[in-house]
């Protein structure tokens, strides 16, 4: 009854261990600067990322340039999403009514644990001990695979990149292409050693690797009794769900099993069918630089004689209502998970996705994760700083999320949270600076001290590491050595004659 092999698969990511609610998969991750230091030193990773992100950047620009009205589409998408968020309760209730009328069942999950428990219960009552899955950010976020494994239910990822990640006991590092950190030779090696029945003499030709995945998953698709998906869009007006994909694994999962369970964030909703003319123009061009992705499936509840006999929609909050309550941050809920911002980000290009410690990496992850989880953990408090604020992400965002604005806003929140602590070296330094800068005599003395101190710690004009409590500054950057003589001292010595 279940997908063969699904029950025996090990979940790809390490088990949840820390007390933080919400995204259990990534707990205990080090903060961004610590993780990034290791990632930046990995030359293979950097080569893979540079190759992939540069390839897609040029292609995306070409696909976008084909539409003369790109900016107007982007503006319309932003307005539609803002409007939907402002009336989210109305549209969710409308969606619920229309899905129910079409023969589906709607469940509401306040957090990740509740969503996972609902899914596990539905799988059990379908009499299955395994599911086939379409790639879904919502179930990455809830750590569904690990939760199902703990319940004795195997989850088989069917998206090629998710399969690579799952077989490699790895973590996803990109929203669209979770195995972007792997090149073809590494993927061949994962398939050769981890994929049961991998063809002998498998080459690293992407076509051959795709064919191996097709053969590997075929039987699972044909015999699966439960499919689990997310959705790119949910249409309130009709109760329809929309899944946008390339490989056909999505079509398999939403069509062939007898039971379909879709876990969907409450912000994925669109008011009406017509809105798809905007979002299906923006999403494929932004994510894979295609005019249209190979396959898009829509379905409305149950269709007698075609597809699943049971359909369950799990609406997920898991911090989204907290993000909605944040006046500046709520715009992040417009996100359609295209990943264009990752592909243009100079920071993501160098660190890769794992350093962000969340299923949502890159610029959008740097705002989404703290908005959903809060800024209390060191990892989340470090994310708003994982950016140069260059603004490339805002420029390519198809729903015009002003990511730099939200980053700066979240930095303020992080600082506010720190203010409650008893001692802050940063605050003490600024208080001292204020005092020194008010007095010319103190300033001159401080400059002399800095010149002397600089000679002690600088190497070739750069300071690579400052002693505590100043070490925080040099953790992520070098500091220039102070000049041996300040302008004031030079003027006093030479009166401007230069001698």
């Amino acid at each position: 009854m279940t997908a063969p092999g699904a029950g025996g698969l090990q979940p790809g990511a390490p088990p949840a261990s820390a007390p933080h609610p919400g995204m259990p998969t990534y707990l205990g991750m080090p903060s961004f600067p610590v993780a990034a230091r290791a990632a930046v030193a990995d030359s293979q990773l950097r080569a893979n990322l540079t190759h992939a992100t540069h390839t897609i950047r040029a292609k995306r620009a070409g696909a976008v340039a084909e539409l003369a009205d790109w900016e107007q589409l982007r503006q319309a998408a932003k307005e539609i999403k803002d409007h939907t968020l402002a009336h989210l309760d109305t549209y969710l209730l409308r969606l619920e009514a229309n899905v129910t009328r079409a023969g589906g069942h709607v469940h509401w999950a306040a957090d990740a644990d509740e969503a996972n428990a609902i899914v596990a219960g539905l799988v059990r009552s379908a009499g299955a001990d395994g599911v086939v899955k379409v790639k879904s950010m919502a179930t990455q976020e809830t750590g569904l695979n690990e939760a199902l494994a703990a319940d004795g239910i195997g989850a088989l990822e069917t998206d090629l990149a998710e399969l690579i990640v799952q077989l490699g006991h790895d973590r996803p590092s990109h929203i669209l292409v979770p195995a972007i950190h792997r090149n073809r030779a590494e993927i061949r090696e994962i398939f050769r050693t981890q994929m049961p029945g991998a063809p002998a003499g498998l080459t690293d030709d992407p076509q051959a690797l795709a064919a191996a995945a097709r053969a590997h998953l075929r039987q699972a698709f044909l015999s699966a009794s439960v499919g689990v998906s997310g959705a790119n869009f949910a249409i309130a007006e009709t109760g329809s769900l929309v899944v946008v994909e390339s490989e056909g694994n999505g079509r398999m999962c939403v069509t062939l099993p007898r039971t379909l369970i879709s876990v969907v964030g409450i912000e994925k909703i669109l008011p009406s069918w017509r809105d798809l003319e905007v979002f299906l123009a923006l999403l494929p061009r932004s994510s894979t630089a295609e005019r249209m992705n190979p396959y898009t499936s829509t379905w409305t509840g149950i269709t007698p004689g075609d597809g699943p006999e049971h359909f369950h929609l799990v609406l997920l909050d898991n911090g989204r209502t907290s993000a909605l309550a944040d006046q500046t941050g709520r715009q992040a809920l417009r996100c359609i998970r295209c990943s264009a911002c990752l592909n243009v980000c100079p920071v993501y290009e160098r660190t890769g996705g794992h350093a962000y410690g969340s299923p949502y990496p890159g610029p959008i992850g740097a705002i989404i994760s703290p908005l959903l989880r809060g800024v209390t953990s060191p990892a989340d408090a470090s994310l708003p700083y994982a950016s140069t604020l260059c603004g490339a992400c805002y420029e390519v965002c198809p729903v015009a999320i002003n990511i730099p604005e939200v980053l700066v806003h979240l930095r303020a929140k992080v600082v506010d949270a720190k203010r409650e602590k008893t001692f802050s070296p940063e605050r003490t330094i600024f208080q001292l600076s204020g005092w020194v800068l008010r007095s010319p005599r103190l300033l001159a003395a401080a400059q002399r001290a800095a010149a002397t101190g600089g000679k002690l710690v600088a190497r070739s004009g750069r300071i690579r590491r400052l002693p505590p409590p100043l070490n925080g500054w040099t953790e992520t950057r070098d500091a220039p050595a102070p000049p041996p003589e300040s302008f004031r001292a030079w003027w006093a010595r030479t009166r401007g004659t230069g001698r």
């Binding site: 992939a52 402002a86 989210l88 075929r218 009709t238 609406l315 909050d317």
Partner: protein, 233 residues
């Protein structure tokens, strides 16, 4: 109903208190969602290509072929002969019957060689049986020239979704009159009806960009998409 439902709705309403809304949203945030929705600005182009220019069929053929579908343009009068030729070619490469959905226009299969075996989907064929088919032949609901997309609404002549998914070869017949210039026009004809039919949008054969973000064709869906664009002459 459930407490989580009440809790989520209450949290949304609290977050959307007028005082908590960004200033630029205030205009569209009246109590009547539908009235506010109707006023949303949509300044994008309804069409990127003028249908009157007559180039829509050309554009559709070019864009569909761009994603590695095989596209042939045939006169309506030569359609049955073209179907017979394409299926004979496929049968030579992959033996097995072709599944045909109910409601396929009469005449499309009139010229088949007796060597071509057909399978009907009544009663519905199990998925494993579909996996043994040489291919499937269908019509479509509409098509989009701008993006090279074929849309099935799984009505008569198109079959349930599994038919055009499991077999590795899909021959789809598109009449030139079914091709719309743009997404918006095509979608306006597809609003889910009371029968709640699903839709499948197809743009080229199954593909993936998951290895190094390079597109390669051929994963789980039909690896061979053959399009006959039938035109009146």
């Amino acid at each position: 109903m459930s407490t989580s439902r009440d809790q989520i709705l209450a949290r949304i309403r609290a977050a959307n208190r007028p005082a908590n809304r960004p200033a630029n949203e205030a205009a569209g945030a009246g109590d009547d969602a539908d009235a506010a929705y109707a006023t949303l600005p949509r300044k994008y182009l309804r069409a990127h290509h003028a249908p009157a220019s007559g180039g829509i069929a050309d554009l559709f053929a070019e864009r569909t072929a761009d994603y590695r579908a095989v596209v042939e343009r045939v006169p309506e009068s030569g359609l049955a002969a073209a179907v017979a030729r394409v299926l004979a070619q496929r049968a030579a490469a992959a033996p097995g019957p072709f599944v045909v959905p109910d409601g396929l226009p009469s005449g499309w299969l009139d010229a088949l060689s007796p060597a071509i075996a057909l399978a009907r989907d009544t009663p519905p064929l199990p998925a494993a049986e579909l996996d043994r088919m040489a291919g499937v032949v269908t019509g479509c609901a509409v098509a989009i020239a701008e993006t090279g997309t074929i849309i099935l609404d799984h009505g008569p002549g198109q079959g349930r979704r599994a038919l055009t998914l499991v077999p590795d070869f899909h021959l789809v017949i598109v009449r030139a009159s079914q091709v719309y210039a743009d997404l918006a026009d095509a979608f306006a004809r597809l609003v889910p009806d009371p029968n709640r039919r699903p839709h499948t949008l197809i743009s080229g054969p199954s593909a993936t960009s998951d290895i190094e973000l390079i597109r390669v064709e051929g994963v789980h869906g039909p690896r061979n998409l053959h399009v006959l664009l039938a035109e009146r002459h």
